[in-house]
């Protein structure tokens, strides 16, 4: 029994497993950074949508409806690839000489010198920005709706006190908006958490990729077959991990909503 225990202890703390545990940082980073950006883009999008200037209003509306109208994976993959190409194109227009262009046989980049190598950190940041853009479109809608839910009387009162438009926006409108936006933003956060499982599509060695590697049939010449195909066990762990994260997020958001809703009468609070 105790031998078994030591075996399992050493198995789940071997080098590969430690790397797996460490790779959770990518998921957490992408969720937190992506979530923050989503709120920022959401505020920006909602401001655009509320703008008095028609083209800006159009930009906000088009952003939120187009991005929500296509699958999140599509935009999640498209943005980093397109951004990388855009940067390479700019570099190429500065660096490449006709000789270099002639020497390049591949379709992209225009010349070898314009190649922009992306490692895990760069891809992680691009992936987070991508998540922020996609779910910022959802947040735009949520915040836009919340801005309209703030009681008119509050804004009129602020105006009556002689607040300027920007004072009104920042001191009253956006502050009171959060209570109405929180339920929707909590939904967006759950979507972001679930979307962090897609990081491996951008060549980031995240928890999903490591679960696949660790679970694959493991054969060592010295000991023989260590274990057969155990991938489903590792994926089951991730399945439970995500459910737990959702559960905890739900509780945290409930607490925040209770706190933010103090002193405000609404159907949600009895």
């Amino acid at each position: 029994m105790s031998e078994d225990l030591t075996f399992w202890l050493s198995y789940i703390t071997n080098g590969k497993h430690l790397t797996w545990y460490a790779s959770f940082q990518f998921t957490v980073f992408a969720a937190v950074f992506g979530g923050t950006l989503a709120v920022v883009f959401g505020l920006l999008g909602a401001t655009l949508k509320n703008s008095r200037f028609l083209p800006l209003r159009l930009v906000g509306t088009v952003y939120s409806s187009i991005v929500r109208g296509v699958p999140d994976v599509l935009f999640f993959l498209f943005f980093p690839l397109a951004f990388e190409q855009g940067v390479e194109w700019i570099i190429a227009s500065q660096v490449c000489t006709p000789d270099m262009l002639a020497a390049q046989s591949a379709a992209w980049p225009p010349c070898k010198e314009a190649n922009w190598f992306l490692g895990t950190p760069e891809y992680l940041i691009l992936a987070s920005v991508s998540l922020g853009l996609v779910y910022g479109a959802f947040a735009t809608n949520v915040i836009h709706g919340a801005l309209r839910s703030v009681p008119k009387g509050q804004l009129e009162a602020a105006r009556a006190y002689g607040m300027s438009a920007s004072q009104l926006l920042w001191r009253v409108h956006i502050r009171q908006m959060w209570v109405y936006a929180l339920p929707g933003l909590s939904n967006v956060w759950m979507l972001i958490i679930k979307a962090t499982s897609l990081l491996s599509l951008l060549q980031i060695a995240d928890i999903v990729l490591w679960a696949d590697r660790l679970g694959a049939p493991n054969f060592l010449p010295a000991v023989g077959l260590v274990h057969e195909d155990w991938r489903w066990r590792y994926y089951l762990v991730l399945f439970v991990f995500y459910i737990l994260v959702t559960l905890i997020s739900e509780k945290v958001f409930e607490a925040i909503m209770r706190r933010a809703g103090r002193g405000i009468l609404s159907e949600g609070h009895h």
Binding site: F138, K194, A195, S197, A211, Y235, L238, I243, T246
Partner: protein, 244 residues
């Protein structure tokens, strides 16, 4: 422009795979969802807990992980079960596993929608049915179900569109066999050939948008029919909530 039309033709066979995945999983997911919703509302604590747990688990975890989990589980049974039975070519085929996982997933989301609608069925109507001496199956068929489906239909339409969007990740988790490629795999492979991200991904996006609009249209027709007894049918909101 010519290139653009060629590209659209190139993607036409691919969209059929996405449509297949969605169409194959919608009916079964629908039926399973009705049972799960009734289960969640059941007074039997065991059935209620189980349905509740199932719905929570499949709504609270990424579809991507669910694909990997079910597929690797099916793989691990391969040598012991599927091979001796001679059905491993079928069970492990993406065209089977794909809809299977999508059914499991959409059933949970749909069940939550139906559960919400079930709780919104007017109490008075159910009480009236009981006063008429209707048995439970009669109550369900005559009173609860017609109310439920009308209440749930707009949200269910959203769920179907979302399911269609979710078919985009099927082939990222399952093996691509031969020329059986969906929109995303086609876009990705074309991109890897000539690195024209803007063209390929926007054509794929256009296809997703187009099919979504068709779904909204068709489901809108059904909604109109469901609501035909109403004096002025409340139109299906065209700009739906895309959240779930």
């Amino acid at each position: 422009m010519d290139r653009f039309f060629q590209e659209i033709a190139l993607f036409a066979p691919a969209v059929l795979f996405n449509i297949y995945f969605a169409a194959a999983s919608i009916p079964l997911g629908f039926v399973l969802a009705v049972f799960l919703a009734l289960g969640k509302a059941s007074s039997n604590p065991l059935i209620s807990r189980l349905s509740r747990g199932y719905i929570y688990a499949f709504r609270g975890s990424p579809l991507f992980i669910q694909f990997f989990m079910v597929y690797s589980l099916a793989l691990s049974f391969n040598i012991g079960v599927w091979k001796p039975m001679g059905i491993s070519w079928f069970v492990l085929h993406p065209l089977f596993i794909g809809p299977l996982v999508l059914v499991l997933n959409t059933a949970a989301y749909t069940a939550e929608i139906f559960y919400g609608a079930l709780r919104a069925v007017p109490r008075g109507e159910v009480e009236a049915a009981r006063a008429y001496g209707m048995s439970w199956p009669q109550q369900f068929r005559q009173v609860i179900w017609p109310n439920l489906i009308r209440l749930a239909w707009p949200a269910y339409t959203n769920e179907v569109v979302f399911l269609f969007h979710a078919t985009a990740i099927v082939y990222f988790a399952l093996p691509v066999i031969g020329q059986q490629k969906d929109l995303m795999i086609t876009a990705k492979e074309l991109f890897e050939r000539d690195y024209n991200a803007f063209l390929h991904f926007s054509v794929a996006a256009l296809y997703f948008l187009a099919v979504s609009l068709v779904v909204f249209f068709l489901f809108g027709l059904v909604y109109r029919r469901l609501m035909r007894h109403m004096p002025a049918a409340p139109g299906l909101r065209f700009a739906p909530k895309w959240l779930r």
